[in-house]
C-alpha cells in the first residue's frame, strides 16, 4: 500500500504526501503486521494496518485475539491499543478463493475489540476517522464490492462516535437490518418493495461492536417485523446475535419471528456461482413476504 497505493488504490498518494516513515509496506506477514502494530502502539504511535484481503486476516487472528484485544486488560488499563486494522471484506467482485470472506463474527466474538462495517464511501470516511481516533482496537471491514461506487457527502468528520446505527430508509411494514454491502442491497430491496406498496425500513448498523441496539430495537418495536441480511454464513453469523437481542428486548412487539437472509453454511464459493450464494433481491423479498404473512 505504499508505492502501489494498495491493490484497490485506497491509499494512493498517501506515501507521497506523508513520507515513507509514516506510510510503508511491510514483509508479507499478517501476524507480523498486527504484532508490530501492537508494539508501535506501546511506543505511543497510532497505527493503521491494512490486511490485503479478508481471507488473509486469519494468520493474524492469534495476534488480534490473544494480544490486541487483551493488552489493555493485561496491563490494567496502562497500555492503550489505538490500532485500526482495515480489511477489504465480502464478496461480489468475482475474486478467487480467500478473497470474498465475511469474518465479522470472529472479531465480534472477541471482547476488547470494536468492529466497524461501513456501507459505502461516505460512511467509510466518517467511520474511519472515528475508528482511528478511538483509543481501542478497531477492526474496520471495508465492503470491497462498494469501492467503486462514488458518493457525494459533506467531508466534515465532526464528533462521530462509534456505536450509532442509522436509518438508511424509513418505512412502516417491516425492518431490514444489515451492514456493509448488504445495507445498500437492502435499500435496493426497499425500493423494489415500494413498487408493490410495501414500505420497508432499512437500518444500516454501521458498527457491530458496540451495537446500537436502541436504534435497531426501536425500529422493530414500531414495525413488528424484522429481517437481518448478511453475506457471512448463517450459523453463528452476527444475524443470530441481533435476532437474540431483539427477542430479549422487543418480544412482545414482534408480529413474526426475526428471519435471516445470509450466505449458506458452505465455504465461500467460486466466482462463477457467487451470485447464487450472496443474498439476492428475491431472497430478501421472499423473507419479507414471510414476515408479512405471519400470524
Amino acid at each position: 500500500m505504499g508505492r502501489l497505493g494498495g491493490v484497490f488504490r485506497v491509499t494512493e498518494g498517501l506515501q507521497a504526501e506523508f513520507g515513507e516513515q509514516r506510510v510503508f509496506d511491510t514483509p508479507l506477514a499478517e501476524s507480523g503486521i498486527v504484532g508490530t502494530a501492537i508494539g508501535l502502539a506501546l511506543a505511543g504511535w497510532r497505527p493503521v494496518c491494512e490486511i490485503q484481503f479478508d481471507g488473509f486476516s486469519y494468520p493474524a487472528l492469534d495476534q488480534v485475539i490473544t494480544n490486541l484485544a487483551k493488552y489493555r486488560g493485561r496491563t490494567r488499563g496502562r497500555a492503550s491499543m489505538p490500532v485500526t486494522i482495515r480489511i477489504p471484506t465480502g464478496g461480489g467482485i468475482g475474486g478467487p478463493e480467500h478473497h470474498g470472506e465475511s469474518p465479522e463474527t470472529y472479531y465480534a466474538h472477541t471482547a476488547g475489540l470494536k468492529v466497524v462495517a461501513p456501507s459505502g464511501a461516505a460512511e467509510a470516511y466518517r467511520l474511519l476517522v472515528a475508528s482511528i481516533r478511538d483509543p481501542d482496537p478497531v477492526i474496520f471491514l471495508e465492503p470491497k464490492s462498494r469501492y467503486w461506487t462514488k458518493e457525494s457527502f459533506d467531508a466534515e468528520p465532526g464528533a462521530e462516535q462509534l456505536g450509532r446505527a442509522r436509518i438508511a430508509r424509513p418505512g412502516e411494514h417491516a425492518t431490514l437490518i444489515a451492514w456493509g454491502a448488504m445495507a445498500a442491497r437492502c435499500v435496493q430491496a426497499a425500493e423494489a418493495a415500494a413498487e408493490d406498496g410495501v414500505e420497508l425500513e432499512v437500518i444500516d448498523c454501521r458498527t457491530l461492536v458496540p451495537l446500537d441496539l436502541e436504534t435497531i430495537a426501536g425500529s422493530v418495536r414500531r414495525t413488528g417485523r424484522a429481517v437481518v441480511v448478511h453475506e457471512a454464513p448463517l450459523t453463528a453469523g452476527f444475524g443470530a446475535e441481533i435476532s437474540a437481542r431483539l427477542m430479549e428486548t422487543v418480544f412482545d412487539d414482534l408480529k413474526a419471528p426475526v428471519l435471516r437472509v445470509t450466505g449458506y453454511d458452505v465455504p465461500y464459493p467460486a466466482a462463477a456461482v457467487e451470485k447464487a450464494y450472496l443474498p439476492s433481491l428475491d431472497r430478501i423479498l421472499t423473507a419479507v413476504q414471510q414476515v408479512l404473512d405471519h400470524g
Binding site: 511491510t26 501476524s31 507480523g32 504484532g35 511506543a43 495476534q63 487483551k70 490494567r76 496502562r78 497500555a79
Partner: protein
C-alpha cells in the same frame, strides 16, 4: 567490549542471589497453596540478571513468563509480579511503563513481534532507546518469532533478541526442537547472531551491553543465544524425572552461575552478607503477598475498553446481583 566493574560485579551477585532466593520461595509458596503455579528459573540467573543489568532506564524489556530475574533488575515490585501466579491478574499487576518491563507473556513467542514494533516506534522517535525481548529455544519454533526477526532485519529495528536456550521446552529436548544452531539464523535475517555461555554473568553482561549499544546507535538488531540449562522443572506442575535423569542434569549443576560468580568475586564475607539481606527481603515479600486480599470478581469488567459499552455495564450489574 566493556566488562563489569568490581562494584557492578557485586551488584550482579546481589541481584542474582535475590533472584535465586525469591525463585525458591515462590516454589515453596506454591507448595504451600499460596500460589497456584510457578515456573522456576533455577540455573538461569546469570542469563537473566546479566543481560537485564545492561539495560538503561529508557530501554524496554519484553519478558516471556519465566523472567523473574529481569523483573527484579528492572525494579518491579516482586509482589505485583508474583500475584499473576496466584491467579490474581493475567500479566501481573505492575505498570509496564513505570519500569520499562512488559506484562508477563504466556503466549509463546507472540510477544517478540510487540518488542519489534516497540523498537520500530522508538526508532521513529529519533533513536537512543533499545528493546530486549526474552524467549526460550522452544519459542524459536513459532512462526511469530520468524516474522519478528524478519521485520527487525528489514526495518533495522533497535532490538536485542535474547534467547535463553535452557535446552528443554517442558519435556522436549533441544534436539527435537530444532535441527540447526539458533544463533546462526540471524545471518538469514541480515544481522549478527552469537552464542554465549549463558551461565557466565560477566560475559552475559558485556555481550548484552554491546548489543544494546549497537541498537541505540541505530545499527540494528542482534541475536544473542545464551546457552544455559533449566535445572528445575518447567513449572510447579511438571516432574522432569519423567523425561530426564538426574545424571543428565549434574554436569550443569557444576556450572551453576551463582557458584561461578561467587568464585570470581572471591569475597565470602560479602556473599554471606548478601544472603542475610535476602532472607529479610524475601520474608517481607512473602508477608505482603500472603496479606494481599483476593481480587474482586467485578474487576474482570475493568480495562476491557477505554469506556465500557452499555451492554458490558449491564452484564457487570448482573454479576454483582448474582454475587450479593
Amino acid at each position: 567490549m566493556s566488562s563489569p566493574t568490581p562494584e557492578q560485579e557485586r551488584e550482579l551477585y546481589r541481584l542474582m542471589a535475590l533472584t535465586r532466593r525469591l525463585d525458591q520461595e515462590a516454589v515453596a509458596l506454591q507448595r504451600q497453596g499460596e500460589l497456584t503455579a510457578f515456573p522456576p528459573l533455577t540455573g538461569q540467573e546469570a542469563a537473566q540478571v546479566g543481560s537485564a543489568y545492561a539495560l538503561e532506564a529508557q530501554d524496554f524489556a519484553f519478558p516471556s513468563y519465566r523472567e523473574l530475574g529481569v523483573a527484579i533488575v528492572r525494579g518491579i515490585d516482586p509482589v505485583e509480579y508474583l500475584l499473576a501466579y496466584r491467579g490474581d491478574w493475567n500479566g501481573g499487576l505492575y505498570d509496564p511503563f513505570a519500569h520499562g518491563f512488559g506484562p508477563i507473556a504466556s503466549s509463546v513467542g507472540s510477544h517478540s513481534l510487540h518488542a519489534v514494533g516497540w523498537a520500530m516506534g522508538a526508532a521513529l522517535d529519533g533513536g537512543g532507546r533499545a528493546a530486549i525481548v526474552y524467549f526460550g529455544e522452544g519459542a524459536t519454533s513459532e512462526g511469530d518469532v520468524h516474522e519478528a526477526m524478519n521485520f527487525a532485519g528489514v526495518f533495522k529495528a533497535p532490538i536485542v533478541f535474547f534467547v535463553q536456550n535452557n535446552q528443554w521446552a517442558i519435556s522436549v529436548p533441544l534436539g527435537r526442537q530444532t535441527a540447526g544452531p539458533i544463533h546462526r539464523r540471524a545471518e538469514g535475517y541480515g544481522f549478527p547472531g552469537l552464542r554465549i555461555d549463558g551461565n557466565d554473568a560477566r560475559g552475559v553482561y558485556s555481550t548484552t551491553a554491546e548489543a544494546l549499544a549497537r541498537a541505540r546507535a541505530g545499527q540494528g538488531p542482534t541475536l544473542i543465544e545464551a546457552l544455559t540449562y533449566r535445572v528445575g522443572a518447567h513449572s510447579t506442575a511438571d516432574d522432569p524425572n519423567r523425561y530426564r535423569s538426574p545424571a543428565e542434569v549434574d554436569p550443569w549443576r557444576a556450572q551453576d552461575p551463582m557458584a561461578r560468580l561467587r568464585q570470581q568475586l572471591d569475597d565470602e564475607a560479602f556473599c554471606a552478607g548478601v544472603e542475610a539481606e535476602n532472607e529479610a527481603r524475601v520474608a517481607e515479600i512473602r508477608a505482603r503477598l500472603v496479606a494481599t486480599p483476593a481480587p474482586d470478581p467485578e474487576e474482570m469488567f475493568d480495562f476491557v475498553y477505554a469506556e465500557p459499552p452499555a451492554t458490558l455495564a449491564a452484564q457487570r450489574e448482573g454479576l454483582r446481583q448474582s454475587l450479593s
